[in-house]
Symmetry: D2
Subunit: 116 residues, 4 copies
Amino acid sequence: MASSDLSGLKTPESCTADFCLIPLGTPTASVSKEVAEVQRLLKKSGLNYSMHSAGTTVEGSWDDVMRVIGQCHAMLHQNGVVRIQSDIRIGTRTDKKQGFKDKVEAVERLLKEDEK
Amino acid sequence: MASSDLSGLKTPESCTADFCLIPLGTPTASVSKEVAEVQRLLKKSGLNYSMHSAGTTVEGSWDDVMRVIGQCHAMLHQNGVVRIQSDIRIGTRTDKKQGFKDKVEAVERLLKEDEK
Amino acid sequence: MASSDLSGLKTPESCTADFCLIPLGTPTASVSKEVAEVQRLLKKSGLNYSMHSAGTTVEGSWDDVMRVIGQCHAMLHQNGVVRIQSDIRIGTRTDKKQGFKDKVEAVERLLKEDEK
Amino acid sequence: MASSDLSGLKTPESCTADFCLIPLGTPTASVSKEVAEVQRLLKKSGLNYSMHSAGTTVEGSWDDVMRVIGQCHAMLHQNGVVRIQSDIRIGTRTDKKQGFKDKVEAVERLLKEDEK
């Protein structure tokens, strides 16, 4: 950073984020209703995403991915949840383009060689 | 906690943990070799586990789950990785027994009703 | 969400995020150089932030906070780091405005009563 | 791992963990009461720890650190919290012994040189 102006520094063009969203102060300990609403919103976003038991993985540009996670918070607040905490694991890389399915396949290829 | 002695306080009998392990200072940016070794170790542990693109979910008693994640660190250190950082999302509950597959199914049931 | 259009759904006006950034595939296991660069960038951002041993807490609007974390990734990529993984804990709430210092003080007030 | 027996694989002798514990399904969105109870338990544990606004950092052997976090879950369950989710960032390294204060100081030394 030669300059002190950050406006020229663009966020990454692509990223993979995995987020686990937790509503606080809700009447029940179940979160499936909120997680279902998050899935519906992600579907509308047009981004590539995949739910698993410990979160949801979504990929796209940094700005698009972070905006949609923020919109999940905003939507649940609109629905009456007063406090929300998310844990986000986000990765970016410049050495290659790798979708989230490629990552699993790379490991599975290695494991398959064990069986030979 | 009436007493100041923690020895009588047992860790939870069951938990679900999702962990993402990152080796630092390795020659390449790829982690698939290390993740494959983690999967092999988990297989030997006998615990129920499932890999996805952003981590691995494992369930069992708190002590068993945490021990096996610690053993993953120890194994990779033995293999020459000098520094390892893991992010672990871990949940415990007393209201019901819920395996990690049940959590996904509960959300999918809600989403299926949208299609009716 | 009555409408299927997400463009009207604004991200939260304020949030507190705590992030831990990890460069992968770097020659050494030390990350202090990269963390120092992140601190310099945060200083330029004008946002309120605080470093601790396990990450950096930053507060502001959702968009401002997420942009600056993305810029940290972008800057380190420009400096030659090919892969970066961050863990972000982010919280939003509508019941009250609470800066990150207030959170620590609320707990410390409770702990001080123990000494009475 | 030449052998398929994991019993000989010891967990790391030292680690630094930073955890953020969230109670679910509690009547209020405030968590300061629960966080204060966690601090009291940590004090009794004898481990070195430090609270900040986004979690608590604790250091010790892998087993001791993980046991005490599990005991925090168990204690809050005893107090009536039915579901608890924690995010844990845990690091181990074999190249040097580094306490959590050393990590902050290493970065601050680099930042101080900027002012020269």
